[in-house]
């Protein structure tokens, strides 16, 4: 997977301007990282927004049709890079959600649920193909609505979206082989609630396996990023998907909770914060609803002294600055072995100085806009807490656009385990550096969190990789790499990072009931 760093092959030329600034930055305690930037000017390379037509107003997608909310209410969705309102989107009421559940039930009972697996497969293949055909349109829209760099939406999000539908399409008529000795039956109607960090990708992770197994869905996108889901509704129409198979209701979180507690729902799938995940788990308490949760994380990225440091630096940068750090599996805690912490931080600071923050639609942008004002405020608040608690703060010099929600890539060194920035999920481009001496200490620190989504290990020693991978209480372990995703690869957390897996054969399990043959 291409990442924020892959195309960066900078030539070091000319004199290096000292740019150690950033509001309130203090000289690095390591005294080494010079944060010197290479004066490398990039001409603007904006991706054209012409490819996508954003309507003034979007309705809900219920039973194959675009409909207004029953009370006609709407809310605006904002481009976080410009603060302009892109469109008005229908604000679903509980009555609208009820309609969507009824439509999904009807489709599950009479159309989609009756289709043989091989016919479901062809619909899903169709969807994958249409997504590929319209990939640039989706990428541009996704970047505009979410703030993520076009480089990522174009090269990561949208290709993975198509790949997910492609992968699960092939499972639809092969479920007997996924569950040997058992018959896999659909659960029924799934309520799926997805976050704003990977709006379309999370839609794919949710909808593709659900449909492959014969379920129908009511999907609630995040309220700050509804547009790509609503454009996906158009893909469903183009694919002639039976009406009601996919329903999309946009609105506030209360609509999500309404779906969770709705008696017409058989299965709930949620990706988002651990706090909301707990609310959702309470919402299904006492029922027989299936539940999968993909929640927060505070991943440790562990760098041993024998690691290939330049590669590790690229992995660290990819781990925490990919998608502005708004990634549940982000490598937000760097655990560096003491003997190499100084050169590592020096390299990291140099590397940070080359990161380009700015217009998400510029093809050269590495770090785009923070998704919303509220998220920017949360990041700012946690960063202030880091300074107040005594960690050393560092930001590279870089100009931020005058408008929009932007935040400089941030590095904290001398972080203690008790600091909030080492404990809480920041969901922003903020890296906390801690150190360790022995592998055992690294394990202890890495696992010292209620979360358990992902971990990174950097060492050239194979046996250490396998031993560390075994000891990490985390659902995904990246060794000498980070933030890789693939539809065939199960993803999900240990501990309070949730339960259930998405992706791979394991991802089907959440959407089936197994019966005796």
């Amino acid at each position: 997977m291409p990442d924020v760093t892959s195309e960066t092959k900078l030539q070091r030329t000319g004199e290096r301007a000292v740019q150690r600034t950033g509001s309130g930055s203090s000289p690095s305690s390591w005294g080494l990282g010079d944060g010197q930037a290479i004066p490398w000017e990039y001409a603007p390379a904006p991706e054209s927004r012409e490819i996508v037509t954003i309507k003034e107003r979007y309705g809900l997608f219920i039973n194959g049709r675009e409909v207004d909310a029953v009370d006609g209410a709407t809310f605006g969705t904002v481009n976080p890079a410009t603060e302009e309102t892109l469109a008005q989107v229908a604000k679903a009421t509980p009555a609208d959600a009820d309609k969507a559940v009824r439509a999904a039930r009807k489709a599950q009972r009479y159309s989609w649920g009756q289709l043989p697996g091989r016919e479901r497969a062809k619909y899903l293949f169709r969807i994958a193909r249409i997504l590929q055909e319209r990939s640039r349109e989706f990428a541009v829209l996704e970047s505009m609505d979410s703030g993520k760099p076009i480089k990522e939406s174009r090269d990561v999000d949208v290709p993975l979206v198509a790949a997910h539908f492609w992968y699960y399409a092939g499972w639809a008529d092969k479920l007997d082989y996924a569950f040997p000795g058992r018959v896999a039956r659909p659960l029924g109607v799934a309520a799926q609630i997805i976050p704003w960090n990977f709006p379309l990708l999370m839609l794919a992770w949710k909808i593709a396996p659900a449909l492959a197994a014969g379920n129908t869905v009511v999907l609630k996108p995040a309220s700050t990023t509804p547009l790509s889901a609503l454009l996906f509704a158009d893909v469903c129409r183009q694919a002639d998907l039976p009406p009601g198979t996919v329903n999309i209701v946009t609105g506030p979180g209360s609509i999500g909770m309404h779906l969770v507690t709705h008696p017409g729902i058989d299965k709930v799938a949620f990706t988002g914060s651990t706090d909301v995940g707990k609310k959702i788990a309470r919402g299904v308490a006492g029922t027989d609803k299936g539940l999968t949760l993909e929640l927060g994380g505070k991943a440790a990225n562990i760098v041993f002294e024998d690691a290939a440091l330049d590669q590790a630096v690229e992995g660290i940068v990819n781990g925490i600055y990919f998608n502005q750090g708004e990634v549940c599996c982000a490598g937000s805690r760097l655990l560096a072995q003491e003997s190499i912490v100084e050169p590592l931080i020096e390299k990291l600071k140099d590397r940070l100085s080359t990161i380009r923050v700015g217009d998400p639609l510029d093809k050269n942008t590495d770090v785009g806009a923070i998704n919303s004002k509220a998220q920017l405020e949360k990041i700012t608040e946690l960063v202030e807490s880091g300074k107040a608690e005594g960690a050393d703060f560092y930001q590279p010099a870089c100009d931020l656009p005058e408008r929009g929600y932007f935040f400089r890539p941030t590095l904290f060194t001398n972080v203690a385990q008790s600091h909030r920035i080492a404990q809480e999920e920041i969901f922003g481009p903020v890296l906390s550096v801690l150190t360790f001496r022995t592998p055992d200490e690294a394990v202890e620190k890495a696992n010292n969190t209620p979360y358990g989504l992902s971990a990174g290990i950097w060492t050239e020693k194979g046996s250490r990789i396998l031993s560390m991978a075994t000891k990490m209480k985390a659902g995904v372990v990246w060794a000498n790499t980070f933030n890789q995703f693939d539809p065939t690869s199960p993803f999900g957390g240990y501990k309070e990072s949730g339960y259930g897996r998405e992706g791979g054969m394991h991802g089907l399990h959440a959407y089936v009931r197994l019966e005796d043959r």
Binding site: V284, A285, I465, G475, W478, T488, G504
Partner: protein
């Protein structure tokens, strides 16, 4: 059995088998009366058999009301001690090789085989059955250990995978045990149901805190004596008897319990258990929809032996590594 001699059996077959013993007993009685040494039914925590720290007990009676024994009425503190013991035992048990874990659990079956008569009498008393009806339940419980023990070194191959990702990476998924599992044992089936719920998380490499059947706890206590003399390390299984209304809310809310088997949770507590479990994102394995504890047929191997019940207490871990030079 504590009050075995006072309980009418009406069991011709069993009587026939015990005739010799009875004659001997009668002969002894004429010489001098032999007073039975009764068993004290205790908790099993960290490999030891403490009484409840609360000093409380409750009377356990047979189905027909005959008193059988005083069982420990375990407390919140007992449960906490049990969770601590289970947590402590977890790393060791989880890191046993799969084959070793399989052998250790198979050994439990071996030891139960040697206590078949005792288990048959206890199950008969607990469940109000004739001993000849209890005997097949015991045999099935022993066979169930054997079935699950055999999974130890196979489940990773069935549930794990090598994933063909679309880039140059080696990517594989392996199951790992979840951690400390709280089991609320079936209320009705005192041994076979219990073993059917206990074996799956154990074979997966978890450690267990078991809340026994409230009305029929005695076979579970005897099972703990088997475990204590087997090769299952202390703390891997901890057994607490007592009142479910007292114990279940505690284990459901304990944040160091990673997963719950709620098969034997009384219906009235079901929602509260789910609510408490939500606070620490506990995994919950529940009775399948529409299945009633009291009516479930544990002797139906197809229904009662499931690799999914092992999988319910496993976490899938996916590891990536680049393929390069």
């Amino acid at each position: 059995m504590a009050s075995r001699q006072s309980r009418p059996t009406g069991d011709a077959a069993a009587r026939a088998r015990t005739t010799t013993r009875a004659v001997q007993k009668a002969a002894d009685a004429t010489v001098k009366p032999r007073i039975e040494v009764r068993k004290t039914y205790k908790l099993y925590i960290g490999g030891a058999f403490p009484r409840t720290e609360s000093g409380r007990s409750y009377l356990v009676s047979a189905n027909d009301g005959t008193p059988l024994a005083n069982a420990c009425r375990g407390s919140r503190k007992d449960l906490r001690d049990a969770v601590r013991a289970a947590r402590k035992a977890f790393p060791g048990w989880a890191s046993r090789s799969a084959m070793n874990r399989g052998q250790v659990l198979y050994r439990v079956a071996e030891l139960m085989e040697g206590r078949r008569d005792q288990f048959a009498e206890e199950v008969a008393a607990a469940e109000g059955l004739r001993t000849d009806k209890a005997r097949p339940l015991v045999d099935r419980a022993i066979d169930r250990w054997v079935w699950y023990a055999g999974w130890a070194d196979k489940i990773a191959q069935v549930l794990g995978s090598s994933n063909p990702v679309a880039a140059s990476y080696f990517n594989f998924t392996i199951p790992e045990p979840t951690g400390v599992v709280g089991i609320v044992a079936p209320e009705t089936s005192s041994l076979l149901g219990l073993v059917s719920r206990l074996a799956p998380p154990l074979v997966a490499g978890n450690t267990v805190v078991l809340v026994t059947s409230e009305k029929r706890p005695l076979p579970a206590v005897t099972l703990s004596e088997v475990l204590a003399t087997s090769d299952v390390p202390g703390g891997v299984v901890n057994v607490i008897t007592g009142l479910k209304n007292e114990l279940v809310p505690v284990i459901a809310a304990h944040v160091d319990v990673d997963a719950l088997d709620t098969w034997g949770v009384p219906d009235a507590l079901r929602t509260d258990v789910d609510l408490a479990a939500a606070e620490s994102i506990k995994r919950i394995a529940r009775r399948p929809r529409g299945v009633a504890d009291a009516r479930f047929d544990w002797t139906d191997d197809r229904a009662a032996e499931r690799p999914e019940w092992i999988a319910a207490f496993l976490e899938m871990k996916t590891v990536w590594h680049p393929i390069g030079v």
